[in-house]
Symmetry: C2
């Protein structure tokens, strides 16, 4: 539902919010959790605006807000966003509208003065994991990714028969979800080389990233009570960037018959800013199911979801090597695509997750699965870009190449929405660096 908070003409008195390419204009207002760098202070909730963080704990103490937005602000100011996500859509919307008014250049001078005292420059904010991830589920909803990966195993029939009937998913590991910027050690594990008689144990040799989006669930539901598709969108608070790091050699040896385990659970990185579904509303697009594909079963079919269940989110991945950093470079873009190509919508994912009665909790994180577009250059994992490690992926600015990730590589995901007649809505970035395996 579009309202005045989506007006592309609206401007903030925070000047940087109007800068070209700014991820955090007045129309975005993403939520995160931060502490000021170098201060020993408890983390608290904030909202990004331009090049600033609005400190919600400080705002809640000013008395500028009253009633429902004040209560919502107090809850959004806590050390994690779980409780705020648990408040539900009316509260989320009321705080969004209130913050929009306070940060708008239509706000009176006195209000602006009071708000300015609540701003912290983004450059001085250390961003934390925005939620305590209670449960983490990862879907598998890119038909292009599934086809690319399936070709390795089943060249003639790469898609499993269930793919177009339901959003496939598996449970991931919640404990190892980390905030953007967290480095991790290359995992050790077992791998079986083709034709070998026995597996070997050692550092991963086929380390990969996966370009994904994550979404966060709203209020807790009760065990046994599904969320119908028509209501699912209102149960989703917002989205982030997600890198589902994968040890392909370990994964492919272990995953038959019960799915990925150690190949995925050593680290999952998410971006710190949660962009609300409210902010993303202008970028909803129809879901384009190809002609001839099966009609979804009734519980996965809804007119509104068909009409606007997909999201046109631009995504790209940069790889920054040691050499890039030594040369002061930002890395090279190795892939770019859009989230709109996914075969299932986030609402369908949530409806599927709960149709058997599984309950969900505020703060649950759901990954969309690797996002690969229809062409080879739009693949969301290096195993696809390098065609299973058989072709070089070039890093033009340093002249290096990659088939899998190397120690010291930093992988940077970025995402944003842009179109004529709407303000740009950005996700910031999600980055993570690979440290050498521990002895």
């Amino acid at each position: 539902m579009l309202d005045f908070t989506h007006d592309p003409q609206a401007r903030s008195w925070v000047a940087a919010a109007q800068a070209a390419g700014c991820d955090f204009p007045l129309q975005n207002l993403p939520h995160g959790v931060f502490a000021r760098i170098g201060r020993h202070e408890p983390p608290r909730g904030g909202v990004a605006i331009g090049d600033q963080v609005l400190d919600l704990a400080r705002l809640a103490a000013t008395g500028v807000l009253q009633g429902e937005p004040q209560v919502a602000c107090e809850v959004a100011a806590r050390e994690t966003l779980n409780a705020y996500m648990g408040l539900g859509l009316p509260a989320w919307r009321s705080l969004r509208r209130a913050l929009f008014r306070l940060l708008s250049d239509q706000a009176d001078a006195a209000t602006q003065e009071r708000l300015k005292a609540c701003l912290v420059p983004l450059a001085q904010a250390e961003m934390k994991l925005p939620v305590e991830v209670r449960n983490y589920t990862d879907f598998y909803t890119s038909v292009h990714h599934a086809t690319n990966v399936g070709k390795v195993v089943r060249p003639d029939d790469p898609l499993t028969p269930n793919f177009k009937w339901l959003p496939i998913a598996y449970h991931g590991r919640a404990s190892s979800v980390v905030a953007s910027g967290t480095a991790y050690h290359r995992p050790r594990g077992q791998a079986m080389a083709p034709g070998a008689a026995a597996p070997v144990y050692g550092p991963c040799r086929r380390l990969d990233f996966e370009l994904e989006m994550g979404f966060f669930v709203g209020p807790d539901t009760v065990l046994g009570q599904p969320i119908p598709l028509a209501e699912a969108a209102d149960h989703i608070f917002g989205m982030c960037l997600l890198n589902d790091w994968s040890a392909r050699d370990h994964q492919f040896w272990e995953m038959n018959p019960l799915g990925p385990f150690l190949g995925k659970n050593f680290c999952t990185s998410i971006s710190p800013w949660v962009v609300t579904m409210e902010a993303l509303a202008p970028f909803r697009v129809p879901f384009a199911r190809p002609a001839g594909d099966p009609q979804p079963l009734a519980y996965l079919d809804d007119a509104s979801d068909r009409a606007q269940g997909s999201l046109d989110i631009q995504l790209e991945v940069r790889l920054q090597s040691h050499k890039h950093r030594a040369q002061g470079r930002d890395g090279d873009r190795i892939t770019a695509t859009s989230f709109r190509h996914q075969y299932w919508t986030v609402a369908q994912m949530l409806a599927q997750h709960t149709v058997g009665g599984c309950n969900v909790c505020s703060g649950d994180l759901m990954g969309t699965g690797t996002i690969s577009g229809p062409t080879a250059g739009e693949a969301g994992a290096i195993v696809e870009l390098s065609v299973g490690g058989t072709r070089d992926v070039p890093l033009p600015s340093t002249g290096e190449v990659r088939r899998f990730l190397e120690d010291g590589d930093c992988v940077i995901l970025q995402g944003w929405c842009e179109k004529p007649g709407a303000a740009r809505i950005g996700f910031g970035e999600c980055r993570g660096t690979i440290l050498p395996a521990l002895d």
Copy 2:
């Protein structure tokens, strides 16, 4: 390590602790969380002794304990056992020894009097989920189960090549783990009939139980830091019974390529009493790897684990139908086996889980996977007992038969350890009843 708390001659002044077949003698002292039935009171930690629960909150208030056991008692008295599990082995052991002395018939009369005031009859205690399950992982470590199930898919080569090289596992759903006694509705979902052109949506038609044990992890570990096998046993607090309810028709349609999801996440039941590894120590047995099987890789091989990593826990499953209940019957035993037949030890499971750097948290629950013994009558799931739903499983006392579970069926798991020269250590029971699918 055996000490005075394992002395089979030791007796409690709680008379029922000495009764034949009692699960909770002085040598057991399992932890749980309870509230008195009909009182509106907060749940608190307790320890089972005979037919009583020792209320640890009340005990902590008496001043009978001092020092380390007092601190441990205060933590074990909380609403969940997570923090107590986080204290680690020295604290667990110190409280065990202190409670053993207080509940022993060697305790002086004044102590007995003070302790009596802290007892609540088990019959008046409503048992709660003992932990807030932070992460739930399910292993797959019965070679007999894996062979039985694999035969359906790959008759000539039922075991996947990885089975004897690593303890296979997948991440389960933490939110839907429930306490014994919780009924749940038959799940709905998608299933594809053999030879059909399209799946159908509806209530599960092949509902199953899985006889498992669960184990609980001790103190939190740090991301990137594995738990070596030689230290793994000390990181495990205790064990419970676990029923990993399974919707076979949904599971087999969805699980390729990423493993079980809705087929498992609608409900997982655990017994309320957590039997400590200390209490189970007398029942450790060598791990008997069959001749000719591969030697485990070094990180999964440890002399102490080989010598005493397995546990001889007797297990049985009863099925109680509507008809049994109408006739006042307790149900019929449909299978019985021992946990000692598992191919991997709990320490190996934990070492494998963390070898890639995945961190674990106090309160994490790990399932061992379905426990099936070497003979057909020892299978831990009805899909095995009925050979994929092709043969009747008889319920002799009512004359009924089952191929899968029916609405109204209550499945009751029981487990205990018994041998000459040791006190019987019981787990109590884990039960759950199937309600009809919701409309």
